[in-house]
């Protein structure tokens, strides 16, 4: 550029030995810097864009080979059973629904807030805490949630409900396969709601 030909005294010849033209060693670095920053921008964007995709949930899982009596150790009064069904519907009842002669009251809700499943979990937790204070439950008893996803629920529901567990601080929860009894509960509730 401009400074490249400033050192020599122009094109005048005074005879004698031709002097070699002294060139400036300065190089204009602007284009190089431009290029450097362009690439930096590119790499900044590619790195930050792929980062948020690496989040995870750790899920505890029960051993399925446990004895039957170990599996149903959950106390009726601490338990909340949540059934996931189609169209992101959530059915729930208190207890574990083991008493066939006295079927639990199954209700339906969804993931919307407020008024969704979160409120149900919070209420249940408060109830268990009240029972612990009153002494009808031991101090070590914790709210236990049984999650039973039906076959027409989606993975989205599944992650949402596990997420609700961590949102509401439920430490004990289990993912259980849905039983025919639970499916019947869903069908009955659906029929009852359709009548309204």
């Amino acid at each position: 550029m401009a400074e490249l030909d400033t050192s020599s005294g122009g094109g005048h010849k005074k005879g004698g030995v031709k002097k070699a033209k002294k060139l400036s060693t300065r190089i204009d670095l602007t284009p190089m810097v431009d290029l450097g920053f362009l690439l930096i921008t590119f790499f900044i964007f590619t790195t930050t864009m792929s980062k948020p995709k690496t989040m995870e949930i750790n899920m505890p899982f029960k051993d399925e080979n446990l004895k039957k009596e170990d599996q149903s150790k959950v106390k009726e009064s601490t338990a909340l059973t949540i059934l996931l069904s189609k169209d992101h519907r959530v059915y729930y009842y208190e207890g574990i629904g083991s008493d066939a002669t006295n079927p639990p009251k199954v209700e339906v809700t969804n993931f919307k807030n407020p008024g969704g499943i979160r409120q149900v979990i919070i209420d249940k937790k408060a109830k268990v805490e009240a029972l612990i204070r009153s002494g009808s439950l031991g101090a070590t008893d914790k709210t236990t949630v049984l999650i039973k996803p039906d076959y027409n629920s989606t993975y989205d529901d599944f992650v949402n409900i596990i997420d609700e567990m961590s949102i509401n601080g439920i430490q004990v929860y289990a993912i259980v396969d849905i039983s025919p009894v639970d499916k019947e509960f869903i069908a009955l509730t659906e029929a009852a709601n359709a009548g309204n």
Binding site: I40, M55, E56, Y155, G169
Partner: protein, 218 residues
């Protein structure tokens, strides 16, 4: 009354220092960048509040797309090589060295064993086209079922690297049974701890998780 002359300064700035900085940063970002591995299918993961960051190495990735198709992948090239060699021997796939290398440097695999040879022989474009129509790795709820090919992949991969952390990356729209099959398969191998890859969402205000750690950690 002579006005003091303001010395004319050159507008030329020495760019060397700036250039140095630029390239220093450039080399940093180039080394720090980890490109997204090319995935055979687009998966939109559900969001959760979990902030645990996935480790960089020793990952077994089980991808489930919206239609419930299962893809299997292991991150390390050497482990992939060992894995396909074991599989070749165990299932009698009849793969040659080139095909095994092509597996080692490839991405997620979503082919049944009987099509794997043809798949590894094919050009990358043909493979991408195949991935759009494949039924995925066959899975089942029981590890004893000989058709549960995912179970064999998992066992072989764990034999090659016992430290593997198992990650399930499923689409939010995927039906639960397709995920349940994978969970059951893992349970069959006595794996009860695994990760679900999710997006991050904000912790809802006023909930248990939103409390400061001192009060929440009880």
């Amino acid at each position: 009354m002579s006005r003091p002359k303001i010395a004319r300064k050159s507008t030329f700035i020495d760019m060397t220092a700036m250039c140095d900085v630029a390239f220093l940063l450039l080399s940093f970002f180039m080394l720090a960048t980890k490109f997204k591995p090319d995935e055979p299918v687009v998966v939109v993961t559900p969001a959760s509040i979990s902030q645990v960051i996935l480790p960089d190495a020793d990952i077994m990735l089980i991808t489930v797309d919206a239609k419930g198709r299962v893809f299997f992948s292991v991150d390390n090239k050497n482990i992939r090589k060992g894995l396909i060699q074991d599989m070749n021997e165990y299932k009698g796939l009849g793969l040659n060295e080139t095909e095994m290398n092509s597996f080692a440097i490839g991405g997620s695999i979503g082919t049944p064993f009987n099509q794997i040879k043809g798949y590894l022989d094919a050009a990358p474009e043909a493979r991408a086209a195949y991935d759009k129509t494949t039924a995925g790795v066959p899975t089942d709820t029981s590890v004893n079922n000989p058709d549960n090919e995912l179970a064999m992949w998992i066992r072989s991969a764990r034999n090659n690297n016992p430290k593997l952390r198992i990650c399930i990356k499923a689409d939010g729209e995927a039906a639960y049974p397709s995920v349940q099959k994978i969970i059951a398969t893992l349970a069959g191998w006595k794996i009860f701890k695994f990760n679900l890859i999710t997006n991050l969402k904000a912790v809802p205000a006023g909930t248990f998780a939103a409390q400061p750690a001192s009060t929440a950690a009880k």
